[in-house]
């Protein structure tokens, strides 16, 4: 049950971030760095199907995390789900064509060990 819920939490949050990032790439950048164009961009994004799919993925991840916390302590749940950093970085490279060099990989490794120590 624990492994199943950890998988759901990680898959949901990674998929949510990837889908949201994809939705925002399609929207383009705000025309200016002031509030009205930013709000217009957000409202446009909220109507995109990729964005709505990301909300579904986040919701699944959130409820799985709540279920996990109902029988495992938070000091287990947070580091267990930190493995998502690796998958998300790798998938950002594959699905979003981001260039992830050695410094970003090293950063991801340090962050994962740090999150495990902190939780």
């Amino acid at each position: 049950m624990t492994a199943f819920l950890v998988t759901l939490v990680v898959t949901g949050s990674v998929a949510g971030d990837l889908l949201k990032a994809h939705a925002m790439r399609l929207q383009g950048v705000p025309e200016a760095a002031s509030a009205p164009p930013m709000l217009r961009l957000l409202l446009r994004a909220f109507r995109s199907s990729w964005f709505l799919l990301s909300l579904g993925a986040y919701a699944g991840s959130f409820f799985a995390f709540m279920a996990l916390l109902s029988f495992r302590e938070v000091s287990f749940a947070v580091p267990a789900t930190a493995i998502g950093f690796v998958f998300e970085t790798a998938l950002a490279r594959v699905c979003l064509s981001e260039r992830v060099g050695p410094r970003r990989w090293a950063g991801a490794a340090l962050v994962i060990v740090g999150v495990c120590l902190i939780a």
Binding site: P30, F85, A92, L96, R104, G107
Partner: protein, 133 residues
């Protein structure tokens, strides 16, 4: 563009960390949710929504979500993910400062490692796909 990116990163990190700490502070004041019956859950939800700390925390988390969403329109996901993970360290420090939580030696080591990882990731270009926008 770099200034806008950095400003949004600060908003994302601070609103998420402070929002979570305020929410945690407010929810502790509400008391334990001892029963999961619909009536008890509804009563807890109403009590928590009437709490100013919970409302403020929820408002800040909404700011976090909007800023994070906008940031992804001009910044790499892998960059945002790693740089904003400094929030884990910030929550630990805020929890110790305002909620009286203990930070052990291993947690300090974790904070140091996360900060090192964030420093490494933030030395990479924020956008690596297509033209710099």
């Amino acid at each position: 563009m770099r200034f806008k990116t950095n400003a949004f990163l600060v908003i994302v990190i601070v609103s998420n960390a402070v929002g979570n700490v305020l929410l945690s502070h407010g929810m502790r004041g509400i008391g334990d949710i001892s029963s999961f019956s619909p009536t008890a859950l509804a009563a807890s939800a109403v009590r928590s929504l009437a709490d100013p700390w919970v409302l403020l925390g929820t408002g800040l988390l909404a700011v976090f979500f909007a800023a994070h969403t906008l940031l992804l329109s001009w910044t790499d996901l892998s960059y945002v993910l790693l740089v904003t993970s400094v929030g884990y360290a910030l929550v630990a420090v805020l929890g110790a400062t305002f909620l009286g939580e203990h930070i052990s030696a291993s947690r300090w080591a974790g904070i140091a490692l996360i900060s090192g990882g964030v420093a490494l990731a933030s030395s990479t270009p924020p956008l690596t796909t297509g033209e710099e926008r």
